[in-house]
């Protein structure tokens, strides 16, 4: 599109008081020869907006630079439709609200008698004016360098693949199918139903949440078997999933077999950050089938748009708790074994089939005051013990159940269930520490318990002991999804959650690092049947949402709706593989030469690849290396004799950016030597921008991004952390240029820390003042 720029400068909200608008206009009209530049005392008012609309209509303005408030506000007022480019320049929060408008200068004058005297005079603050002018320059340059994105559109399918035929998978499949989508459900066992089909009864799923409910999984199996939109594949596993959302090619295989479409072992020790490692050939055992490379196309594969993973888990082995006698005494069993037995008939003890009329349930294995429940349990195990205690009571009128716990975990509405079980006179609930389980001659067991609430140590003789063990997520053992991705077949970050493929985001519980692959149920967290059903319904929504967004050429979370995507200028690619390795979402697969193969629908548009690329060949239509580099170069750097420092700061637009706005709103003041450039994520910061700044003569570069580490807050998972790693190289480069490494620093910043903005900035300015002016200034 042929651009015609219009620059509109608002004088409202004190902008006109703090800045000389005439001079600002001259930047546009004289320096950049912008054909149209207007000022208005309240641009966001009806009159101001119609002024712009008029220019769009009569003058053909299509690229509008608005110097006013932050782009986070009045976004609807300054929306001129999808065919016009709008660039917001924040001269309110980041200029006049956070900087002094005037300053006191000492002026020598002569009084009436001709005597010299020094008078303080108030003058407009030239630093604030220079700041405003620089932002106008950057805004115009950015508007010149941007273009409207064109969505990535292909022939996409809308079919959904659900992995796992337990209660979660069945629910996800039914819910998606009932919304109008075709679903295939894959189960590795020969039967659908999973653990839910092995239950005698289920923990209550509906109000009043006080009584056990009949297990209703068979109804779901029946519903799914007759559903016209659902295809069932039992005894089947995933060999590989290749491709990307909207175009996943899935190779199925018979469960337990190996095929050439299994995902080959990663070519090298996969390291998502840092330098490319040398490739070491992987030795194949003689009996292993050679797997096809991940980029080889399986012509028999079936195409799906998205994947829901509901692979569930496996019962944890409690053998490590030797004092409880599991594996040693036949009548010490786990809650899963108990459930299987209860589903078959009356509860009997394994050693001899004798009726188990008294049963002890152990909630917490810990000794010496350790009050943790069993590994991989959740509140679910408390409720399973209560449920199974009830089985004992159902089977035997004189049955007795003892539950020994450290904390009875029946959160929320499940308290009703706890209360109703407490009312059963045959269920004895005691807080206590189980010292040990011993076997008697008749194979009965004695459970010794200390620190009970009745204030004494007790020993109870029982027919059977049930351990409230947890469920280990399947993803702890197996990648399940077997993605034919260069970054490897499994989910990322599993170690953060002990093998669960859970979300790190409290606000966004379904986010994974594999776009278009959503998880639900016990593979995410240990859940009750009721919770699995709710979770599966949400996962089905996310899957459908991803399908629809992909079909519109739009990104999913967190830049939902974004139609830009990275484009590669391959002629200049040096096959360094950094983009493939650093993408937090595994969006790129490189071929045998190392050339990246982009998968736009896997991309979340953070720009980490763009930041990683040393050849700077990756760009978005509206966000690229040249754009930001040119903005840096547009900043006016005063000569050394003017004694003014210039610092550029790259700021995460998600957290640090809004924090800057809040600092402005609170009229917090900070140095006018610093210019902020918002970036999609610090991961997108290309080190060339730092070189640009330094060679332009700027004295320092600050990077403000999210907190990283295990509790990372980066919306793109790794951006701020990757940026920090790249800074090591920058420090080295600066050293070579005889520039002090302290000139470039990164700080971790949360959105609510806006009151610390002045401190952070002024501290950095002090550091720069300490090392002095950039010696390259003026070259």
């Amino acid at each position: 599109m042929e651009k015609k720029l219009g620059v509109y400068i608002c004088g409202g909200c004190s902008i006109g008081e703090g800045l000389d608008l005439e001079k600002l206009s001259l930047v546009a009209t004289k320096e950049y020869k912008v054909p149209i530049c207007k000022t208005h005392p309240a641009l966001c008012g009806e009159e101001g907006v119609s002024l712009i609309n008029q220019d769009i209509e009569t003058e053909g303005v299509n690229t509008i630079v608005i110097a006013a408030c932050s782009g986070r506000v009045k976004y609807d007022v300054f929306d001129f439709g999808p065919s016009n480019i709008v660039e917001r320049v924040n001269v309110r929060e980041q200029v006049v609200w956070s900087h002094d408008w005037t300053k006191q200068v000492q002026v020598k004058t002569k009084d009436a008698e001709g005597k010299e005297e020094v008078k303080a005079e108030t003058k407009p603050n030239e630093d604030t004016q220079m700041l405003g002018e620089d932002y106008i320059r950057m805004g115009i340059v950015k508007a010149n360098k941007t273009s409207l994105p064109e969505p990535f559109l292909e022939e996409f399918t809308k079919n959904i693949l659900v992995i796992g035929g337990g209660i979660t998978g069945l629910t996800a499949a039914i819910e998606a199918a009932n919304t109008g989508y075709d679903v295939t459900i894959v189960e590795k066992n020969s039967q659908l139903g999973g653990y839910a089909a092995r239950q005698r009864k289920q923990i209550p799923t509906k109000a009043p949440y006080s009584e056990l409910e009949p297990a209703n999984i068979q109804e779901k199996i029946k519903e799914i078997s007759n559903h016209p939109r659902i295809t069932i594949k039992t005894g089947t596993e995933i060999a590989r999933i290749s491709g990307a959302p909207g175009m996943f090619d899935v190779s199925f295989k018979q469960a337990g077999t190996k095929t050439k479409w299994d995902v080959p072992p990663p070519r090298k020790k996969e390291e998502e950050t840092g330098e490319a490692k040398t490739e070491e050939p992987v030795e194949l055992p003689a009996d292993q089938i050679k797997c096809e490379d991940i980029l080889t196309k399986d012509t028999d594969a079936e195409r799906f748009g998205v994947v829901v993973v509901a692979a569930g888990g496996r019962p944890a082995d409690p053998s490590e708790f030797e004092h409880l006698g599991y594996g040693k005494f036949a009548n010490v069993i786990t809650n899963v074994m108990m459930e299987d037995a209860a589903a078959k008939g009356k509860i009997i003890r394994p050693s001899d089939g004798k009726e188990a009329r008294t049963v002890a349930f152990i909630q917490s294995p810990g000794l010496n005051g350790d009050d943790s429940d069993f590994p991989y349990c959740s509140s679910v195990t408390s409720m399973i013990s209560l449920k199974q205690a009830k089985y004992v009571r159902e089977d035997y009128t004189d049955g007795k159940a003892f539950i020994f716990y450290k904390h009875m975990r029946t959160p929320g509405v499940y308290e009703n269930f706890y209360k109703s079980m407490q009312n059963d006179e045959g269920i004895f609930l005691t807080r206590g520490e189980v010292k040990g389980v011993t076997e008697n001659a008749d194979k009965s067991l004695t459970v010794e318990v200390d620190d009970t609430m009745i204030g004494e140590n007790i020993a109870v003789n029982v027919d059977m002991v049930v351990l409230a063990t947890g469920m280990v997520p399947e993803t702890r053992f197996d990648p399940v999804i077997n993605l034919a991705y260069r970054q490897g077949p499994a989910f990322k970050d599993l170690e953060l959650f002990d093998g669960y493929c859970d979300s790190n985001y409290i606000c966004f519980p379904y986010e994974t690092r594999r776009t278009g692959v959503y998880t639900a149920g016990n593979v995410r967290q240990t859940m009750t049947n009721g919770e699995c059903i709710e979770d599966a319904t949400g996962a089905a929504l996310k899957a459908i949402q991803c399908l629809e967004s992909t079909n519109r050429g739009m990104a999913v979370h967190p830049r939902s709706g974004d139609t830009s995507f990275p484009e590669f200028f391959f002629q200049r690619c040096t096959q360094c593989k950094r983009c493939t390795e650093e993408c937090p979402f595994g969006a790129l697969d490189d071929d045998e030469k190392g050339t990246p193969k982009p998968n736009p629908t896997r991309c979340r548009r953070c720009g980490t690849c763009m930041g990683a690329c040393p050849e700077r060949i990756i760009s978005f239509k509206n966000y690229h290396v040249d754009m930001i580099g040119s903005m840096v170069k547009a900043i006016n750097v005063p000569d050394e004799d003017e004694e003014k420092y210039r610092i550029v700061a790259f700021v995460c637009e998600n957290d640090a950016g809004p924090a800057l706005d809040m600092a402005g709103l609170n009229k917090l003041k900070f140095s006018a030597d610093i210019r902020f450039i918002p970036v999609r994520c610090l991961g997108s910061v290309n080190t060339i921008w730092i070189a640009d700044a330094m060679s332009k003569g700027m004295d320092g570069v600050l990077l403000i991004g999210c907190k990283y580490g295990d509790d990372y807050q980066c919306h793109f998972v790794k951006g701020s952390e990757l940026c920090n790693k790249r800074m090591d190289n920058v420090a080295e480069t600066l050293g070579k240029l005889r520039l002090e490494p302290v000139r470039v620093q990164q700080v971790q910043f949360s959105i609510d820390e806006y009151n610390k903005i002045p401190e952070v900035i002024d501290k950095f300015v002090k550091v720069i003042e300490g090392v002095g002016f950039n010696p390259m200034k003026g070259f």
Binding site: K74, A207, H407, R409, E415, R431
Partner: protein, 420 residues
């Protein structure tokens, strides 16, 4: 209003409540491609979580997730929202509802630029509701810094006074309209999701815990504001009676919850909230000590790690026992707590600078029912049915499960769109 209504919609989803659950339901449905309306009674979206300092277990700021969600709203033309608005009447059935909405005047229109001149001119102060009355704000105010939409409101109490006129005169953008009247309008929607959240249980009703009588007894939600950098004390944890830095603090669990006389259910979040709040005080006042009085510590699943992390701090101690009595030491303002330590089997009398009651969550529908055909459980939580429910008005839950149920509710709402 950012998106003024342009004619009555023929189909769409109405989400009542603009907290984290409502926003999530709305956005998840809108990003599938459906038209969604959010109705919120406050002048801002964000609900209860906007008042929290940090989330457990990550100890990250709620504003971070809200900001992303507001960005999603700003970019999505499918989402329209109405603040200061409540549902007055619902008629019809799934697939075809007629909803009557009532907008209360905030006396500030969309011309507001948030320049703050009205607040500067306003000479009347009112108790700051956002901070539970722990400080004051001007009667022309921005509810809080991160408020979305970013717009001032005038408190109705100054209407007709010279203060209101001063505010109006100070505004250069013709944004203050003192003649604004309540407005009633209707919407046609296919499905309705109730997401009106929860209220802190009124701790005054728990006689023996002396909230409202002993000055230095506060509730857990007040503690969130006290610790927040934008709170009444700018994040300094000091006690209300004399502003003294709190060094010795107690948390009383199940203040109202798991109690037949108050809330018979468990409120799900209070154990974790208190564990989280021990980190606030330990960080703010490094010499401080905290004690948690509990019945059971409910830290299910992944929260167990967080409990262990807090437990590793030797300045945080745990006593199993229900607090029997709270009194004031009149001379010092200290708080005297009587509790039965059930493990040691003895009665304890302990003295603290301040006591935080882990007050439970009551569904908002305990106070205000759905003006339509909704079903409730025995504790007034809304059972999801023809009118769908999500988040804490559906069951006591944390933010993560609110997000889960909200996402599921979005699908259920979409499924109703086909019905007629």
């Amino acid at each position: 209003m950012a998106h003024e209504m342009s004619g009555a919609p023929v189909s769409g989803i109405l989400v009542v409540g603009g907290g984290i659950s409502g926003i999530t339901t709305a956005l998840e449905a809108a990003e599938v491609g459906h038209e969604v309306f959010i109705v919120e009674k406050n002048p801002y979206l964000g609900g209860r979580v906007a008042q929290l300092y940090k989330y457990f277990p990550k100890l990250c700021p709620p504003a971070c997730g809200l900001e992303i969600n507001f960005q999603r709203i700003k970019k999505n033309r499918n989402v329209k929202y109405f603040t200061l608005t409540e549902v007055e009447k619902i008629s019809g059935a799934p697939g075809n509802y007629d909803v009557t909405l009532k907008e209360t005047p905030g006396y500030v229109n969309s011309n507001c630029t948030c320049c703050g001149k009205c607040a500067e001119a306003c000479d009347v102060e009112i108790p700051n509701e956002f901070n539970f009355g722990m400080d004051k704000t001007k009667a022309a105010y921005l509810p809080h810094e991160m408020a979305f939409p970013q717009r001032y409101v005038l408190h109705p109490s100054i209407l007709g006074t010279s203060a209101a006129q001063k505010c109006k005169d100070a505004c250069q953008y013709n944004a203050i309209d003192l003649d604004m009247k309540p407005k009633t309008f209707t919407l046609k929607v296919a499905s309705i999701v109730w997401a009106t959240g929860w209220n802190p249980y009124d701790a005054k009703k728990i006689d023996n815990l002396s909230f409202g009588k002993v000055k230095n007894v506060i509730t857990n939600i007040m503690m969130e504001r006290l610790a927040a950098p934008n709170g009444p004390t700018k994040g300094k944890i000091v006690r209300p009676s004399d502003g003294k830095a709190v060094q010795n603090i107690a948390f009383v669990q199940c203040a109202g919850s798991r109690d037949e006389n108050h809330l018979p259910f468990c409120s799900y979040i209070c154990c974790l909230a208190s564990l989280k709040q021990t980190t606030y005080i330990r960080e703010a006042n490094p010499k401080s000590k905290a004690t948690i009085f509990y019945i059971d510590l409910r830290t299910p699943g992944r929260y167990e790690k967080f409990y262990k992390k807090v437990k590793a701090d030797t300045n945080v101690s745990f006593v199993k026992g229900k607090v029997a009595k709270i009194e004031e030491d009149a001379s010092t303002g200290d708080v005297l707590v009587t509790v039965e330590d059930t493990l040691a089997g003895k009665k304890l009398h302990e003295k603290f600078d301040m006591v935080v009651l882990a007050a439970g969550m009551e569904p908002s529908t305990s106070a205000v029912k759905v003006p339509g055909n909704a079903k409730y459980d025995e504790n007034n939580f809304v059972i999801s049915g023809e009118i769908l429910s999500t988040g804490c008005v559906r069951k006591p839950c944390d933010v993560m499960s609110s997000g889960q149920t909200a996402t599921g509710a979005a699908l259920k709402a979409i499924q109703m769109l086909g019905r007629r």
